[in-house]
């Protein structure tokens, strides 16, 4: 019995940095073409046991295709996929210890909720008398006990999603593929289910691959996030790294809000100075990159790193502008500050005081600044 307490995780879980760790799944130069359209393009990726791996990317970038190859519904055009070191190219879906939750749910319309969840168990070697208990467990997990007797067309979209989730979890597979599992749930239930998923994952040691359009969800649940575009992996990293140290403007822009400024970098001491517009001071940036003198580059700043002041602060990277837009989000407000040359800088402030009058208002002249370590320098 493994220790059931999730808090008992003394060492940091990071098998991907361990060169000796054997991956559970390994994509080796996998390409998938539909006719002459390349959906997955020469992809290398290792996913480790007990990982909660999130796939993020715009619609049509190949996330579902990747999952379908793992489940066994699509064969790679080129390359191999290894599961525990075995090439699974020739293994049919019903022989893989992999279960998938379909994007369209794919619930059996002629079966009740109960029978849908029991479907996989009846096909497994689980003794018949244990099936009802397992189904009840699953129903409780997704809070669908009351609807066990209903057919899929008699329940709501979110409820269907929960049934699909329960059905894919029922067999406790080695690898669970979740294609946008929580998209149709309301925020509260979604958060509950996210923690439920993480708990299941810790309890069962199942490896999860999850597709989501919700970055917050990816940040919450994932051990690592992969950002995809046009069938390629753009970056694969842990949530903090991918958020604070994106390797490209694409990733910085895809995850969270960001202001991107284009300019030319020059090294001054151990800091880069990026000159970017006439009449504006150069932006100072700490970066591990090595750039050639006068190399064109981008400075990316997250809005929450930008401070906003009524008076000019004595600091670095200070810019003056006018507030042109305010987005009120309750706990925080986003200000769009337009500089003299037209550039918009996004700044975010916590609304720490309960005051319906805002600290800053439209058309107000303000100063923004961020520290040297807060901006991200990105190569073109």
């Amino acid at each position: 019995m493994p220790d059931p307490k999730p808090s008992a995780q003394p060492v940091e879980f990071a098998p991907w940095v361990d060169p000796k760790a054997a991956p559970l799944i390994s994509f080796r130069g996998v390409t998938k073409r539909f006719g002459d359209f390349t959906a997955i393009d020469n992809l290398y990726l290792d996913i480790f046991q007990r990982e909660f791996f999130a796939l993020l990317g715009p619609s049509g970038c190949g996330k579902t295709t990747l999952m379908r190859m793992l489940a066994g519904f699509e064969n790679a055009t080129e390359g191999t996929i290894l599961l525990e070191g075995q090439n699974i190219g020739a293994v049919p879906p019903n022989k893989r210890a992999v279960n998938m939750m379909f994007q369209s749910y794919a619930l059996f319309p002629h079966l009740t909720v109960w029978d849908n969840i029991a479907f996989g168990l009846k096909r497994s070697d689980m003794p018949k008398d244990q099936i009802p208990a397992r189904v009840e467990d699953m129903l409780r997990l997704v809070q669908m006990q009351k609807f066990a007797k209903r057919k899929p067309h008699q329940i709501s979209g979110g409820q269907r999603q929960r049934v699909a989730l329960a059905r894919s979890l029922a067999k406790a597979p080695k690898l669970l593929l979740l294609d946008e599992p929580l998209g149709a749930l309301d925020k509260k239930l979604r958060e509950e289910t996210q923690f439920e998923l993480m708990e299941i994952q810790e309890k069962t040691g199942t490896t999860f691959v999850i597709v989501t359009h919700d970055q917050e969800e990816a940040m919450t649940v994932a051990s690592r996030i992969a950002v995809m575009d046009h069938g390629k992996l753009i970056q694969v990293d842990t949530p903090p790294v991918i958020y604070e140290a994106p390797k490209s403007v694409y990733v910085a822009d895809f995850l969270g809000d960001v202001t991107v400024i284009e300019g030319r970098a020059n090294r001054v001491g151990d800091i880069y100075e990026v000159s970017w517009a006439e009449g504006q001071p150069p932006l100072r940036c700490a970066s591990p990159l090595t750039l050639a003198p006068d190399q064109s580059c981008f400075v990316a700043v997250r809005p929450e790193k930008v401070e906003i002041h009524a008076d000019r602060p004595e600091d670095e990277n200070v810019l003056q502008g006018k507030i042109v837009d305010i987005g009120y989000l309750g706990n925080l407000s986003t200000y769009h500050v337009q500089l003299a040359n037209g550039q918009i800088i996004k700044a975010q402030n916590f609304n720490t005081e309960r005051d319906t009058r805002r600290r800053f208002t439209w058309e107000e002249d303000v100063w923004v600044n961020w520290t040297v370590r807060c901006a991200i320098l990105l190569e073109r």
Partner: protein, 296 residues
């Protein structure tokens, strides 16, 4: 008012083309045979006034129906019709389902063509096609010649004028009525359901029996009724392909009507046939309705 009109039109249609003829047939079935034109009595004469109408009703009776139960020919014919219709419906299903399944699994681009091929036989006369089967199935027919030539058999087979020929004829004629509704349900079937079944541990074959088969049930039921109902009253196929030994109620009806000129008995046969058919028709209606409710 407009709604009433909309409802009135189909009802008027039903009354004029189904209910009125049916009532006429019922009336004839209650009459007595007579050598005259029309060949039965009584006929309603309004000139005699109220007493004429009363006379008319007093002469109607159930004699012909009693007669049907007395002569074993009739119930034997009903029974054998029922049996032939059931067997041929089952055979049509066995032939039609795989065809519908193959059509639904064919490339999207091919489906209209395949559909065309299924409907194509309707473009030639039904009679000509049945005669063609006579040419194929007779002792000197193409089938026997071919089998003799390949050496599978040494003596020609007698197929024509047996029940087998009737089965072949009915299966051939009604096959499209079986294929089309099944194809319609199979085509709508979501492929990801089969994938989900496989994902959950089913083999392809299990996935068929556990997912495809139950989900195509409405199509199968519709197809079976569309074959069974006309097959039970079938007249042309048994008389042309079934020979004299094959007893079917449609043939009996025809003979009563045209050979014996016994319209009242023929009408009684028709009324009983209709009553037998009303049961499956009601079942069919209920199936359709349930299907519609399920789709909502």
């Amino acid at each position: 008012m407009r709604r009433l009109l909309l409802i009135a039109i189909p009802y008027a249609w039903l009354v004029a083309l189904f209910l009125v003829p049916f009532l006429i047939v019922v009336k004839i079935s209650l009459s007595d045979v007579q050598l005259s034109i029309p060949p039965y009595t009584p006929t309603l004469e309004f000139s005699a006034g109220w007493t004429g109408i009363r006379d008319f009703f007093s002469q109607l009776d159930f004699e012909n129906f009693v007669f049907l139960t007395e002569d074993s020919l009739y119930w034997k014919a009903y029974l054998s019709s029922l049996q032939i219709a059931l067997v041929s419906t089952a055979l049509t299903l066995m032939v039609g389902y795989p065809i519908a399944l193959a059509m639904a699994n064919a490339e999207q681009a091919w489906r209209p063509t395949l559909m065309m091929l299924v409907i194509l036989p309707f473009w030639t006369s039904f009679l000509i096609r049945v005669y063609a089967w006579m040419g194929i199935l007779s002792t000197e027919g193409f089938l026997n010649q071919f089998l003799l030539w390949t050496g599978v058999i040494s003596e020609p087979l007698t197929i024509l004028n047996t029940r087998v020929a009737v089965y072949i004829g009915i299966v051939y004629t009604y096959l499209p009525f079986m294929i089309l509704p099944i194809y319609a349900t199979l085509e709508k079937l979501d492929v990801s359901l089969l994938e989900a079944a496989e994902d959950l541990g089913c083999t392809r074959r299990q996935a068929f029996w556990l997912v495809t088969a139950p989900l195509s049930k409405p199509g199968v039921i519709a197809g079976c009724f569309l074959v069974f109902i006309p097959a039970i009253g079938e007249f042309v196929i048994p008389s042309l392909l079934g020979g004299s030994q094959t007893l079917m109620i449609g043939k009996v009806l025809w003979e009563e009507f045209f050979s014996n000129r016994d319209w009242p008995v023929a009408s009684a046969v028709a009324v009983v046939l209709l009553l037998i058919l009303v049961i499956p028709i009601i079942l069919f209606q209920r199936n359709e309705q349930r299907q519609r409710e399920a789709e909502q």
